[in-house]
């Protein structure tokens, strides 16, 4: 009787009730990352990316994935600046399949994220939000899993939030000369890993720091910049 009571209150779990970790993956289109993560990003769920300052390459990490998976819509919630349509289209993202949501407060952002996930029309969500509480993260995680969507939560802290958040994966990104260095704090179905370097040089040759990966690249010095005409017209 006691056991039944405990089971009812979900204090005791039977081993067969617990579903094993979802081993399905979707490729990140970065071979080193795929190898490191045993196949790539989770198939569905919430992924926390602690990016530090914006602009270190956090979207470049995701763009190849987004460009490949366009059977359903994708949504961007509260990007820190304007999303440049030209850049997205350059990387093969279909803008007609992309929605942009701007909310005035964090509650609205969470509401729209949950609505979008529950509608089942989105395959990928990218949301910028300062912080999530454990219940909020849990709701998003469950919605994403139920609707087979992958949601990336980006924030500008250098370190991921406390370990209590129920997310599928928690990573922090740091810039290096050739791309990004990923520190993996939690990844469902994987043991703790060493940090991993993602080389973006092949996809974005002109954004890699010269001297490190492309010896043929001639560094441009500040001083030999062509002068602008001093007067217009």
């Amino acid at each position: 009787m006691v056991l039944l009571q405990l089971e009812k209150e979900r204090l005791v779990w039977r081993a067969r009730q617990v579903a094993g970790p979802d081993h399905r993956r979707q490729s990140s289109f970065y071979p080193t990352l795929d190898a490191h993560l045993q196949g790539g990003w989770p198939h569905s769920g919430l992924v926390e990316l602690a990016c530090g300052p914006a602009g270190i390459g956090e979207l470049r990490l995701l763009l190849p994935l987004l460009a490949q998976a366009q059977s359903r819509l994708q949504v961007w919630i509260n990007p820190p600046a304007e999303l440049n349509g030209q850049a997205l289209a350059q990387h093969g993202i279909d803008l007609s399949q992309t929605l942009l949501i701007r909310c005035q407060n964090p509650q609205q952002a969470l509401w729209s994220a949950e609505q979008s996930l529950n509608s089942g029309c989105f395959s990928h969500l990218i949301m910028w939000a300062l912080r999530l509480t454990a219940p909020q993260a849990k709701r998003l995680q469950v919605s994403a899993k139920d609707n087979q969507a992958l949601m990336f939560w980006l924030h500008s802290q250098a370190e991921p939030s406390t370990s209590a958040l129920p997310v599928s994966a928690r990573l922090s990104l740091a810039p290096v000369a050739t791309g990004l260095r990923l520190q993996i704090y939690k990844y469902q179905g994987l043991w703790p890993q060493h940090p991993c370097q993602v080389d973006m040089h092949e996809l974005w040759p002109s954004l890699a720091t010269p001297g490190h990966s492309s010896p043929h690249h001639v560094p441009v010095l500040m001083n030999n910049i062509v002068a602008l005409p001093s007067k217009l017209w």
Binding site: I56, A89, L100, G120, C121, N147, P175, L207
Partner: protein, 468 residues
Amino acid sequence: MQWLYLYFPSLQLDSLLHQQAYNQACVLVHKNEVVQTNPEARQLGIKIGTGLAQAALLCAQLKVIAYESKQEQRLLAQLAQRLYQTSATLYLDPPQGLLLQTSDMLRLYKGLAPYWQQLQQPLMERGLHYHYASAHSPLAAQVLARAGNDRLLTNQDEATRLLSQLPIHRAGLDHKLSLQLERLGLNTLGQAQALPRSALGQRLGQTLVTFLQQLETSSAPSWPAYQPPERFRQRLELLYEIEHSTALRFPLKRLLSDLEAFLAPRQLRAAGLSLGLEYQEHASERLHIGCSDGEYRAESWLALSMLRLEQLKLQAPIIAVSLKTKGQMPWAPLSAQLFEPPGGKLTAGQLISRLQSKLGDHAVQQVYLQDDHRPERSFYQGLPQSHYQSQQATRALRPSLLFTLPQALNHKPDHRWCILSGPERIQSGWWDNVSICRDYFIARNPIGQVCWLFRTPREEWFLHGYFS
């Protein structure tokens, strides 16, 4: 031909009281005279024609509402719209009557009783009091119904017999004429019918003769039959003033279920609704609620409207609500993809409408490309459209995050910055007075952000975006 006449002696009052259970005496008053009463008022002895002062004496807590013939006509048209689902040919007889041609419908419903059952249902739903009668001629049905006959007669002889027994003062003739007839000693309609028509005409005027003739003619009335409107438009007057927007849920639900009953048989969906809120002593307000995919179900519209109304602050108490459709289109299949794996609960259009109702129309956007060399004008954000042809993107490398307004750099980039590419000169826009002349550089700053910088001819440096 067979005719059925429905008479609603207290149409406006019933519609008002139906909104809420109200069990106290309530009357409609027109020119200081009671014109409609509810059963509670009748119990207290208030009759139609009682003066307002006397009625107030009979009941101190009497609720008095002004009678509006326009509103009653509107209600009658709404009712006709609903009954049109059941009966094909019907005529409005304002202010309180509806005439239905039954003979054509009997074959469909296999008899008068099932047909009548179908007709009664919407009347009960609306809580209306009514009298009815069926007869061989429109006027006979009208006279019998107004006299409170409440019987369905298929037999012409019986109708004629009932008519002939009807007292003159209840035949619906005007007061002066019936008084004249009674003075002649004619107390029932039958007695008047028995007299020679020409003599009656000479003595009492042509109106009576026409009246008697029309009692027997079974042809359709001279005015045109009811035609349902093309677009939905309805107004609901409230019994109580509403002060909180969430309390609008109930009247709105009623309007929306009428909307569904309007759209569903026509296989139409509405692209948008215009909800009118009429304030007391304030200009009325119109809200637009959109649903890009179109929708007809009351439930979905209610959810969308409530999202919108929750954010609304009412300026004054609301006395009436009106609803009309904006754009109607035929039904379309909900999903084009049969083999799409996860069954989406909403379509993208429905989701967009839901988000827009809550966050405002401009919170949900799509990015469109534009042919312009100026980076800030090479794309724009607009309301989502389901179909559009995307343009070719530029070949030059562009940052994924762009600032609307370039941010001025306090210091010129120094040796700690690493220039990755540049300069790329963009000089454009002389034709519309927003000309720019900039040298763009891609540079990595000391903390590792890949920035898009530009320099103006005046050697000022700006940060315009990140290669995020």
